[in-house]
């Protein structure tokens, strides 16, 4: 991405020099999505009152924080030419596990967070081993893991949600509560010019996004992961430990998904069995929309973050224009299809000789 940015500074004439006839299309591929985003912002600001305010901006960020974090995890698996369908159920498993640790086992917030992160890493490890060692195709392995987790998280509570005062299968009553330091992860707001403005979850999203961007674009490990995604055999023959990087990619995906689950639990304050249904599709959509940003045509952290924001802005704007809630999935799907056309049809044309 850094390369791309430097190219932008000096590179428009260069691109024009290489393929003068295509410079219009080149421009559309590169900036089309960002221009569309700016257009949306302007449109909503003029069409609704209150859209262009700090509170509204923060609300958008908050609404995409969890899917954004999950999407950054999927980005890792996409980079190594894999796919992780189990992120949504990993997140809901973390939601249920944290509630179980806090409410049933009555342990503290730190144990709950640590248990969730460990579980996420373990799920990623199993996914990675299934894919690398037993050669199960990535989509199928993580689809299987998704089903397994959806079922597993219901077993300890016999399919019920977890809340203080619930009756356990052995007849006792759960006495634990969500401690304030845990709830703060989802509910605390930091002062930023305006008091109580920025939710902690948004800060976590931004920190993770920057870290992922740095790892993928600027470190050796990110470079090698992209190499694996481009040509796995060639990477192996260049001495890259392909198996290890793939497993690590799935572990990162699992850990980030469980962070998303923790934030969801902290926001809800209970282990709600029915929440998080949309997490998988929303976050995958964000990562795929990210392909179209700056004409990357490949998974990338910056694009993923923009993709998540794009969906958030669109939904917030439509909601403020009184579009009914049930049109949301349709809108998200339409955006995804347009983004995919951007990526594959337009850049495909550019790629041909």
């Amino acid at each position: 991405m850094n390369d791309k940015k430097q190219q932008d500074a000096t590179g428009i004439p260069a691109a024009g020099r290489a393929k003068p006839a295509l410079s219009g299309i080149d421009f559309a591929i590169r900036y089309g999505f960002l221009i569309l985003l700016a257009g949306l912002l302007i449109f909503f600001s003029m069409a609704t009152s209150g859209f262009a305010s700090p509170r509204s901006a923060v609300f958008i960020f908050q609404s995409v924080a969890i899917t954004g974090i999950l999407a950054l995890g999927v980005t890792f698996t996409l980079v190594v030419d894999g796919f992780d369908l189990s992120i949504g159920s990993t997140a809901t498993s973390a939601l249920m596990l944290s509630a179980y640790v806090l409410v049933v086992w009555e342990m503290n917030a730190y144990v709950a967070v640590a248990a969730c992160l460990a579980m996420g890493a373990l799920i990623g490890l199993v996914n990675g081993l299934l894919i690398v060692k037993t050669k199960v195709p990535d989509l199928l392995a993580t689809l299987g893991m998704m089903f397994l987790l959806v079922g597993l998280q219901r077993i300890p509570t016999q399919g019920r949600s977890i809340a203080t005062g619930m009756h356990l299968p052995d007849g006792s009553v759960a006495r634990g509560t969500f401690p304030p330091e845990f709830l703060a992860l989802g509910r605390h707001r930091l002062d930023f010019f305006i008091p109580d403005l920025i939710p902690l979850s948004v800060v976590i999203l931004v920190v993770i996004a920057i870290a992922v961007w740095l790892i993928l674009e600027r470190t050796r490990h990110g470079r090698l992961m992209y190499a694996i995604g481009s040509n796995e055999r060639a990477a192996a023959l260049a001495g890259v430990n392909v198996a290890r990087y793939k497993i690590v990619a799935y572990m990162i995906s699992g850990v980030l998904a469980s962070i998303g689950g923790i934030l969801l639990a902290a926001r809800l304050g209970r282990g709600d069995i029915a929440s998080g249904n949309n997490l998988l599709l929303d976050s995958v959509a964000a990562a795929l929309i990210g392909f179209a940003v700056l004409g990357a045509a490949k998974p990338n952290a910056f694009g993923t973050a923009i993709g998540a924001l794009f969906v958030g802005i669109l939904l917030q704007g439509l909601t403020m224009m009184n579009a009914p809630y049930y049109t949301q999935d349709f809108v998200k799907g339409a955006v995804l299809v347009v983004a995919l056309v951007f990526t594959f049809a337009l850049t495909g044309r550019r790629g041909k000789q």
Partner: protein
């Protein structure tokens, strides 16, 4: 029937601003094998793709047996009797289907060929096709179980099923052994004698000498020379294709330094005869032999990808048993693998990233962020030393011609000093100019390392090596100094019918 099968007039084709065909004028007579020569990027592939209906032409006229010919798709081209066997084998066969279904594929794909798949009928017809061209494989076997060479023959047999009037073969022998190539040549000759016009594209002089009735040289998108008087002027054809005269390489055998990699009592396969081999500094050792003689297996063992059946290796005197390619690279054993498209090129990366990939850690001090400026500086330096033709070090690798892509692959492994450099078929699908550049660079940098070059083509070994080793049946069949070597003996050893070396 005599006369011209196809007449091409002022054919042009451009991709964006890149004018690939700039007015091609060409006639192919029926009943003749016309060999098309050209450096990478001369426009051969584009010409083939226009003729086979993959690309539409921009301008000019094509007449097929006097009638205008303008195929809109590969199947339209086939329907009119223009059949193409592409270089990449897997374009020609479907691995999961059996041989019979592959041979009959175009018939099955024809609209109106019936709804049900009549296996018995398909197999009977397929057997007939196979018999007609002398293809001896079990037609009930899935193509995925066949070795590469037989897949190629199936792809060619499938093309034959169309009763072609013009058959285009795009480097058909690049993955065949000599014996298999002989079968192909016999087939091509039989088709020629039955009046088919054949356009044969190859870089291999031995194929060309064997088959050509006429030679056409292409350069920069136009026909640079037509050679049809016997005896054919091969040198003239090469000159026309390159645009300048070639001098044969003057090679001085270098004195070998100390031993770097020693192989003792190696047995590659349980049944193969053990051999020992020492690779020394300042010495380029070429290993030649047929496909399947064990060259690549040996390279893979040295590089840690496979284990020998028996035997030991020593690197600078210490035991060498690499557990992985990564470990081999760490110890300074670098391998530039064959078949760059599937084994080496990162299509998503630019030239810089393709070059620095194995050593990218060296551009990231303290395991932190990659210093892209230093990385690109290195790439520019390698582009300069290997004279890679490109706009800048940030060009995507796929914008380069095949020869330049191969130079990038060699540059990757020359960008850090190796102890042992293994190059597996470094001249595969590379034009003569690039081949000379690569060979010169390999020789110029050989002082401080041992170099092993695996080639199937004798010419290539003679051009680059100080020492030529012949492999046959997974063992060493001959060891020659490349100073007026006995070519007949080498060829006999390659073919496996020389007595074992006395020593």
């Amino acid at each position: 029937m005599t006369g011209n099968a196809i007449d091409i007039r002022d054919l042009t084709k451009a991709f964006g601003a890149n004018r690939v065909l700039r007015g091609v004028n060409l006639s192919l007579p029926a009943g003749k094998v016309t060999v098309l020569m050209g450096a990478n990027g001369a426009g051969k592939s584009t010409l083939v793709k226009v003729l086979s209906g993959v690309h539409r032409r921009d301008g000019g006229e094509i007449h097929l047996f006097g009638k205008p010919y303008d195929p809109v798709s590969p199947s339209a081209a086939m329907a009119q009797g223009v059949v193409t066997v592409h270089q990449s084998i897997n374009d020609g066969v479907i691995p999961d289907l059996d041989v019979a279904a592959n041979l009959m594929l175009d018939e099955l794909a024809r609209p109106g060929s019936g709804f049900f798949y009549n296996r018995r009928k398909v197999r009977a017809q397929a057997r007939e096709i196979a018999a007609r061209i002398g293809l001896d494989v079990d037609i009930a076997r899935p193509v995925s179980e066949l070795p590469l060479a037989e897949r190629q023959l199936v792809a060619i047999a499938r093309a034959m099923a169309h009763k072609p009037k013009l058959l285009i073969l795009d480097e058909p022998t690049s993955s065949l052994s000599a014996a298999e190539a002989q079968r192909l040549f016999a087939l091509v000759e039989r088709l020629r004698d039955s009046g088919v016009a054949i356009l044969y594209i190859s870089h291999r002089m031995s194929d060309i000498r064997r088959l050509a009735d006429r030679i056409i040289s292409m350069r920069d998108g136009v026909i640079a020379g037509v050679f049809e008087e016997t005896p054919l002027d091969y040198e003239g054809a090469v000159n026309a294709m390159l645009g300048h005269g070639l001098t044969s390489i003057e090679l001085t055998v270098q004195p070998a330094g100390k031993t770097v990699l020693e192989l003792r009592d190696m047995r590659l396969k349980p049944a193969s005869r053990p051999f020992s081999l020492a690779l020394r500094e300042n010495e380029i050792t070429a290993i030649t032999g047929l496909v399947g003689a064990g060259k690549t297996l040996l390279a893979n063992i040295i590089f840690g990808l496979e284990r020998p059946h028996a035997g030991r290796m020593y690197l600078d005197g210490r035991p060498h048993e690499p557990a992985s390619a990564g470990q081999a690279v760490q110890r300074g054993i670098f391998m530039c693998p064959k078949d760059r498209a599937s084994n080496a090129v990162f299509a998503d990366f630019d030239i810089t990233r393709n070059i620095t990939l194995p050593f990218v850690g060296r551009y990231a001090p303290f395991a932190a962020f990659i210093n892209t400026r230093r990385e690109r500086q290195k790439a520019r330096q390698m582009i300069e030393t290997l004279s890679i033709v490109c706009q800048s070090e940030r060009d995507n690798i796929m914008t380069l011609s095949g020869g330049n892509q191969q130079k990038v692959m060699v540059a990757r492994w020359l960008s850090e000093p190796p102890r042992v450099l293994v190059l597996d078929e470094p001249f595969q699908g590379v034009d003569i100019k690039a081949r000379r550049d690569i060979g010169e660079k390999i020789r110029a940098t050989a002082q401080a390392r041992a170099t092993l070059v695996l080639v199937s083509e004798m010419d290539e070994a003679l051009e680059v090596a100080d020492r030529i080793i012949v492999m046959s049946d997974h063992t060493i069949a001959g060891d020659h100094v490349n100073h007026q070597p006995d070519l007949d003996l080498i060829l006999a050893q390659v073919a496996g019918n020389a007595a074992a070396p006395a020593a």
